[in-house]
Each structure stands twice: as structure tokens, then as C-alpha cells.
Amino acid sequence: MTRSNLTRLAIAVALAGALSGCGLSGGGDVKEAEKTGKVAGEITFRTLQLKPKFTGYVQGVIDAFETKYPDVKVKWEDVPGDGYNEKLVADAQAGALPDVVNLSTDSFQLLGDRGMLADVAKLDGEVAKEYVPGSWEQFKLPGKGDGVFAYPWYVTPEVLTYNKDLFVKAGLDPAKPPTTVEQFFDYAERIAATSGGQYSAFMADPKGRLPGDWQKMGIPILNAPQDAFVFDTDKAVAWVERMKDLYAKGAMPKESLLKSDDISQLYGAGKLVFGPGSPGFIKDVKQNSPQVYAHTQVAGAVTGTLGHIGIYAQSLGIKKDTKHLDAATEFAKWVTNGPNQVAFSKNATIYPSNAKGLADPYFADRGDGTDAETTARAVGAESLKTAQLDANTPVQWTNQVGDAVVREVQKAINGEQDARTAMKKAQEEANRLLAKSAQK
């Protein structure tokens, strides 16, 4: 390298350093808004893909709020699901987050962690008792004390769906669905042995099973201070080995190791015994495969040693530096109150995170016990009442952690490495990612 080239390189590197120091920082120093006691002003409300199906419902909720608080104007913007999170990040970077915004678990964690969301427990701690305990608790963040950074909105619980005809064909009793992960695997083994390759038991996709299966088996995911992953245990190794064995025996469709998107299709075609685990999918099966739907039975989700399910709620966050904190807070509480959540649940296959809402008789009605959709609603609502936080995917289990673990598990299931190595490598990578994201 010539001297002039070296000089150019040095200048480039110095320039890079200087620019990176000034132009790339994001978030962090957002000023906190304060309540004024006056519910007024124009606020923006962003939802995730609710138009046009739920336009009438959402607009009705907004109109009723504006009638109650005539000094407030709510500007509703609905954004499609594709690229929703990317848009949120871009808005957050530009300091242009909406005042009240629908957040998924991922986006909640990111924005909350970067100090961009208001602590709603501090704004109005009394409101906590309105929600199902597990859902309110879910919006706390590690290292942020008792702060709660979003209002819980709608929830979709996990249920167990199975094709009772195939159950009988495999010599299993439809009245006795599995209740533990180990039992679920035993059933799958029997199904593989009797199906002759005509149908499979469940989808292999480790992404859909982890860390849920491990939590249900009592495998610790994090250490007590929640600053390191500790799932590399004998039990986790045994889980991987069992998955590998079942995969080799044909209990899962081969391609399902890599993809999970055709579960409705496979179940709807009668090629899968255990179907999609969410009530929304049952509705799809009802619409698209009525014949299979007629053989579909619903039971409580596998809960294992935990005895309860986790809560996976959508939430409404409030922009920390909103200009109209009172209006934004009242509006978020309004949208997530009991009556409004129940009305929403009657429009869509979702459940209220609001305790009063969940107590509505609509959710206790099992009908005559023959319709899977009605049963799913009752079973789901029942399990939500006792849902607890320890079965939730921890916020530290980010998408990237999940992907890293899944990659190692896939290699083990496919026979490319042994289960013990897979767990060791998965934990190492998960901890590296955790340490990286903990750097401030």
C-alpha cells in the first residue's frame, strides 16, 4: 500500500468514527410527558391491520370516546402487518411514534427497553386490577422495577386441537388428550407407528415449540437474576433427542423441520393429527375444510408441570413524550376496558386481557360440546383466567435468540450434530446475543 493510499484509508476511518459518533444514535433520552389533568388535544392511534374488517368496531370505539371527551380528537391510522415493526422502528428513530400504538411482544420490548414508552403503572396504578394478572405483569421489563410499559389488549390463548378420527385410527382415546409434553411425544410415536406414512402427528418446526415445551417440562430458561440463559440441561438434551427420534420415525412431515406456514393446509387435508393451537386457526379450518372440522376436537393446551398456560397479549403503548398524556392514557384505557374488549372479541377470534371482560357469559358458553369453535372459545377463556407469567416467552428470548437456538436444534434433529453439542452451542450463542443486547 502506498503512502497516499494509507493516508486516504486513515482519513476514511477517522471520518467513519466521527460520523458514527454523531449521526447514528437512537432513542434513549426521551423526555417524559406529565399529566395536566385536562383530557384534551389531538392524539394519533395506530393499529395493526384492523382495516377494513374491523373498521366499524374501531371507529365506533373512537366515536364513543370523542363523545365522552369532546375536547379530544383521535386520529386513527391503520398499518398493514407486513413491515409494521420496521415502520415502528423508523418512526421511533425519527421521534415520530404515534401517541397510542399497538405493540407486539417484540416491538414492546424494543421500545420499552429504549425508554420510549410511558410507565402506565405510574400513570394509573389502580387500573392494574382491571386486567387478568398475567397480562398486566407481562408488560414489565427486566431491570426496570415495577414499571409497566403498555396496557394489555387482546389475547390469543393456546389450545389443543386434534383430529379425533385419526386419533381413533392410531388406537388412541379421543377423550384422553395428552397433558404433558412427554405424553404428547408418546402419542406422536404411536401415531407414527400406525399411520403408515399417510399422516403425521405434529409439525417439527422447533421455532413453534420453543421455549414453550421446555417451560412446560420445568426446564429453566434463565438464571435467577435473568441475565443468562441456562437451558442447557439434561432434560433439554433429552427433549432434542426425542424430537430427533420422532422425526426419524416420521411423526412429523419432513419439511416441517424448516417451515411452519402450511399447518392449516396439512391439518385441513387430514394429514396431521394435532392441529393448529390457536382458536383463530380453528375458524380457518371451519371455513376451508368443513369435513376435517367435523372431526376436530378441542382440549386444554398441554401444560405439563406448570399446570397453566402463558399469556401472549397485544398491547397499547403510550409514547413517553406525548403532548397529550391525559388524553392518550384515557384513550388507551378506554380501548382496553371490559365492554370494548368483549365487543371486539365477538367480532374476531380473540380474547380480552381484561378480567371483567373475560368474565362475560359469552366466554363460558360451551354449547352442546360438539362445535370445536365454541369449545375452543370456552377452553381458551378458562385457561386465560389462570394464565401466569412463567409460561411466557421471556423478553430476553428475542427473535434472534430463538433463531440461533432453532438452528442448532434443527441440526440435531436432522442428525447433523448430537443433541448435547446442539444445546451447548445454542446456549453459548444465546448468551452472546443477550450480552450484546444488554450493552447500553
Partner: protein, 303 residues
Amino acid sequence: MTAKRDAGAEPGLIHRRWWTPYLFLAPGLVMVVLFSLWPFVNTVILSFTDAQILRGGGFVGFDNYSRAFADPDFWVATGNSVLYLVVVVPCLVFLPLALAVLVQAKIPGIGFFRSAFYTPVIASAVVVGLIWQWVLRSDGLVNTVFQKTGFLSGPIPFLTDSAMLLFSAMIVTVWKGLGYYMVFYLAALGNVSTSLYEAAAIDGAGPVRRFFSITVPQVKPMMLLVGTLSAISALRVFTEIYILGGESGGPGGGARTLPFLIRQVGLGFSGETGYAAAISILLFLLTLVFSLLGRRLSKGDEN
């Protein structure tokens, strides 16, 4: 002052200033700077930081680059990308030429074949990927036919084995690229003088001899261009792997190419944008090397 200068100006060139040409260039220049140059410069800057999503990192020197060189995932992805290039480029240089020679013939109905071969080009990559998924999955067309006819006892893991997945994706890339480059060759073949073929025929040269002695030398510049273009696209392959092998990029991510790795590392709420930028720069350098190689070859040819 203006009047004075105008008075001395040549007729027809009144009001011309030194910056007039730049004024015409300005709109294009602004676009290039804004949408090409600045993102590139920004990526270079980013590659020297430990930036993450919504967290602008500090300057870390060459850390990201040294991390990439020590990262087994990076080497697997680089290996896959280079293997992709080594296999796909020769196929895309020679097969479309053969196809173009075949469909160049002026016989009734040949237009249908030209269009048919071009169809995969206009089909969306997602649709193409899905079609091939149905063909290659364990219970797909190929495996079912071979198993039913007794050629196979179990399915070939086209999509569930990393190496097989990579080759399956290559088949899709080649299949989709055939028609595209065939059109390039058809244009080149149209420019070859028929008198050369006539003279060769008089000298007694058969079709094979004519192909190697006239067609190939005449379309050689186009072959080099196709080689360079297909090399660049081979290094950019993402969709085929994603659709056939899922979001992990095959079991354990074993079929990931460099663009796949960049997306995986840099996207998502815990995305490491600084590291992803460093891998992007390395991919850029790799692409540059192959492009320069193509240029050098074509220069050699001109000489």
C-alpha cells in the same frame, strides 16, 4: 455587468455559464447521491460501529471485520455463495446459448417456444419457489414418481439436507435465468453475419463445426457479459434459499448465502446492524473482484 459579458458572448451562447452543464446533471446527481452513494457511504461508516437497531453504536475500528473472519457462519455463507457462483455461472453462460441457437431457427411455431422459455423470467420468484417446492419436497412430484416406480425406497432430502437444498436452489436459479440470458444471446446471434455461415457451409463445415468456429467466437463478448451479470446475481441469491429452505436457511442455516446471513444478522429488533454492514461490505468486495475479473477477461478478448 451581465450586460457587458453578454455583449461579448458568441451569438447563440448567450447566458451560458460554466455551471450550466452541471445544472442539467444536478437532478440525476442528487438522486444518485441520495439513493446510491449516501447509503453506500453510510454502510461503510456503519460497518465500523457496533450499532444495533435503535441504538447507534460507537466506533469499534475493524472489530466487525475481524469478527466476520472468525465467524464460522460467515465462512459457511461465503463458501455457499462462491459454490453457487461456480456452479451456476457456467450453466447460465452455456445453456442459454444452446437454447438460443435452438430457438433461433425460423420454423413455424418457434415463437411459442421462445415465449415458453421466457415465462419463468416474468414469473415472480416466490411463485417459482413454490412450484419447485411442490416438485422437490419429500412427498412432492419427483420423490413420489421415483418411489412409486420403485427407483427409490425413501425420499431424497432435496429440501431438508443443507447441501441438497443449495443445489436445489441452484436448479431454480438456472431454470429462471435460462430464458433471460437466452434473449441476450438471441440479440447477439442476430448480429452474426449469415455470410460467415454460408462461407463455412461452402467449405464443408458441419453444424457442430459452424457452432464452435463461428457462433461461439462471434458471441464471445456476450458470453463474457452474461458471465459477469450472472456472477453478480449468483452472489446476491436470497429468495430461492428462503422459499425452499425456510427462514433458517436450511437445517441449521447450512444453506445460507451471504445476503441471507446479512438479513439474518441485521434485521429484527435485536439486529446487529454494524456487523451486518461489515458483511455487506465484504460481499461488495467479493462482487467487485468477480466483476473486475469479468472485465479483465473481456479486455483480454478485445486485445
